[in-house]
Amino acid sequence: MEIGHHPGIPYHEAPSDLPPDHRLSPGEWVRQNLFNNWYNSLISVVMGLGLAFALVQTLDWALTSDFLIIRRNLALFMVGQFPRDELWRVWASLYLLVGASGFGSGVLFRSEQADAEEKGLPVETHSWSEMLRRFWAIVAISIFFVSFARTLLPYLGLVVGFGLFVVGRELGRRLSPALRTRGLFLSGLAGLASLLVLAGTGGLGALAVGGLLGVWTLSEVRNYAEQHGVGSGQPVPVSRRVWRWHIRYPFKRRVGARLASWVAGVVVGVIAWFVLRTVDLSGFGWDDWGGLHLTLFVTVVGISAGFPVGVLLALGRQSKLQVVKGICVVFIEFSRGVPLISLLLFSSFMLPLLFPITFGIPGPLTRAMIVVTAFSAAYIAEIVRGGLQAVPRGQIEAAQAGGMSVARIQRLIVLPQALRAVIPALVGQFISLLKDTSLLSIIGLLEFLQTSDVANAQTEFLGQGLVAVTYPFVALGYWAFAYTMSKESRRVEERLGVGVR
């Protein structure tokens, strides 16, 4: 049967059953959209001239400006006052971080693929061009920044960095999905190590690594116990009746496994902590950090520390326990009710008074990170609370009726839906946090935006109007990261089907 042929009407005049082809040639498109009547033509001409003028001006600026201030201060823009003869630490840490995130993303990708296969969903194929499309802004901005370098080394560094990401991802992608958790753990540890290379292994760093290794050991031992029947013979029934062991469950065996895993975890953690403390790579803490590096670091800390705290606060605010609820409400409303500037001033003037004397007063950056975390946690809490309220009450009641514990209801039923619903708002908060870090300069931290002022105060570049060069440079840096964040959030939304399901 021939589609679209009506008898009696010449074929070429017959109305087609297919939708008409709306593709226009460029000339037609311009005529139909820009010059279809006299006033649209006028507007088009005026706007066209304006655009052309702006473009010429921008090109003129880009070609005639003297970028010496950026070439000479590139390191200042990137890492602030970090000691120049220790820059290898920055590179080493960058490599570790890039390799680890490549590996982690590869592992995640593989496990998601396996998950999709299992459920019979369409399987995403791996493609590097897709990766490039997702992260082109950051890749482009890195190349752009490095193009100002005066030596060959940063170029090499960039190439090695990209190479490590590729290698890491390919390795991660080849890891068996069964090893997913271990792979992610490994990548997390490497990420932490990247911090230790910079900040040294004393104090907090050693504690964090020790803690992570401890937790790892704990879970490994427990898994082993479960698989080999050292603990309970049957699968562990999970409910609050676990606490009421005296009724019917084989307490001794399970508790034995629990005890063993805890002991092993603590022992490994303490040993790791002690070894790292003793070795001590003699890093720099983070009070010397600055530039783009500082800005990104504070943002990442603000997000990754603020998010769990924020979720807990949101849950706490819904608690029926008045004390918990009260504390959460006071904390959220206090942090949200004052500008970030006043919180930063609080960190500078009042926080030192709140630390016990034997503890020692932490440096300005540590204090700033504490309040930035509190600030972002409060905002995240309110965003998440909105999501929590969107989860139908009936689901929670059904889960309760099914005998699920409070923690499991939240973890398996409420939070996944609540968080999915608020991804756009959350990412919006993350992006504004990235930009809010520019306020750190008021407490004397040399963040990315401030490096521009500092460079312009150098005798050599003083008063020549070079902010016109440095501000766009800095703005591009902020833009690349903010844009990538928002792009990624849209991707996550699409994949989770926000607004569709």
Partner: protein
């Protein structure tokens, strides 16, 4: 089963609340124990903690009672100095990330005097609003951040102002070919000035007192004022002398900064109130740079003074006089001045290094022997 459930429910609720309470108490105890642990750590292993880390502030605290800040700085091995990072010439960061500037060099001077190493300084960048609270909190030993010495600051801010290293003040700038050479030539001149500043108030009161008529041309910001001055809209530009010098070096027309100063802005190092020993150390270290310039000792020629016969210079540099080294008794090593000069330089060198490139003339900051205000007590 159903019966058990019904009976069990109230009991279980009570139990779970109890459990939650227990959990909360347990958490609090854990936190307390963690804090307690840290206390114990500090007390039982003082030998292990390095002075750069947590031990430093703790030492500061004991320092108040025992050895004072000088002892604390020596024990720590570094000087905590509060500085500016965005003031051209005075406090700035160079492309290599080093703090540089006139004020920065006085941090280095004190470090060279006390520790024998001008590089042993931890710089704390401070905002104008932060500087006094930070000084009071004891986080910094010394504040060198273009801070004007005034009575109310000395009185209310618990700040102790040291020797003035730079006499700033409201100055005047004219075009290079201008016939104006001093304030008395400015009769009827148009003067560019920022709106609503103390600069304008000073201008009105001083010129009014002297009976000189002038036309103020007011602007909102220096960015608007600069082209007006360049294009000849006004003959004179007035603001702080150091600022004028900084601007004059960047203009593409020849300019002159006049020697006349009509307000007093003495800038110098500041230490916290209440530690005389430390204040004296900072003061004499700072003044040593001026004395060195007076003696003509520079970082390059200091070696040639090793066998000088001048007993004053020998004493100043900590060289033995008749086989004996005289102690100054300030808590400083005898050769502190020699460390300062060889590592940082004398006052004139510091000035030349940072302020001369901005086009700032010595003016009132010249030595007293050259008719300036740089006069220090004798080092004997």
């Amino acid at each position: 089963m159903g019966r058990i459930y019904l009976e069990g429910k109230p009991y279980m609720n009570k139990n779970s609340k109890l459990l939650r309470l227990l959990a909360v108490i347990f958490t609090i105890v854990l936190v307390a124990a963690a804090c307690g642990d840290d206390d114990g750590d500090e007390e039982t292993e003082p030998a292990e903690t390095t002075p750069t880390e947590t031990a430093a502030p703790a030492e500061d605290d004991t320092a108040e009672d025992e050895g004072g800040r000088l002892a604390a700085v020596i024990a720590r091995g570094s000087l905590n100095c509060g500085v500016n990072q965005t003031l051209p010439g005075f406090g700035n960061v160079d492309a290599n990330g080093n703090n540089v500037g006139f004020d920065i060099d006085f941090c280095r001077v004190v470090a060279a005097a006390v520790l024998g190493n001008a590089d042993a300084v931890n710089y704390t960048p401070l905002d104008a609003a932060q500087r006094f609270p930070t000084l009071q909190s004891g986080e910094i030993d010394l504040l060198v951040r273009n801070t004007t010495w005034t009575a109310s600051r000395d009185g209310n801010e618990q700040a102790n102002f040291m020797f003035t290293t730079f006499f700033d003040g409201q100055g005047f700038m004219v075009h290079g070919d201008s016939e104006i050479n001093s304030i008395s030539d400015m009769s009827g001149a148009s003067i560019c000035v920022l709106q609503g500043t103390t600069t304008l108030l000073n201008l009105n009161s001083v010129f009014g007192d002297m009976g000189i008529g002038f036309t103020p041309v007011e602007f909102q910001s220096n960015d608007e004022l600069q082209p007006a001055f360049t294009s000849g809209q006004c003959e004179v530009w007035t603001t702080d002398a150091s600022g004028l010098a900084a601007f004059s070096s960047t203009l593409d027309i020849p300019t002159r900064v006049l020697g006349d100063i009509i307000s007093k802005e003495p800038l110098g190092p500041v230490v916290p109130d209440g530690d005389t020993e430390w204040a004296q150390v900072v003061n004499w270290a700072t003044m040593a740079t001026v004395q060195a310039e007076e003696y003509g000792i520079t970082s390059s020629n200091i070696g040639s003074f090793d066998d000088t016969d001048n007993s004053n210079i020998r004493r100043f540099l900590g060289l033995p006089i008749e086989g004996e080294i005289a102690e100054v008794g300030l808590g400083l090593p005898a050769d502190f001045a020699s460390n300062i000069i060889s590592q940082v330089g004398n006052y004139g060198e510091i000035y030349e290094r940072h302020l001369a490139p901005l086009g700032l003339e010595r003016g009132v900051n010249a030595l007293w022997t050259d008719g300036g205000l740089m006069y220090v007590p004798p080092f004997r």
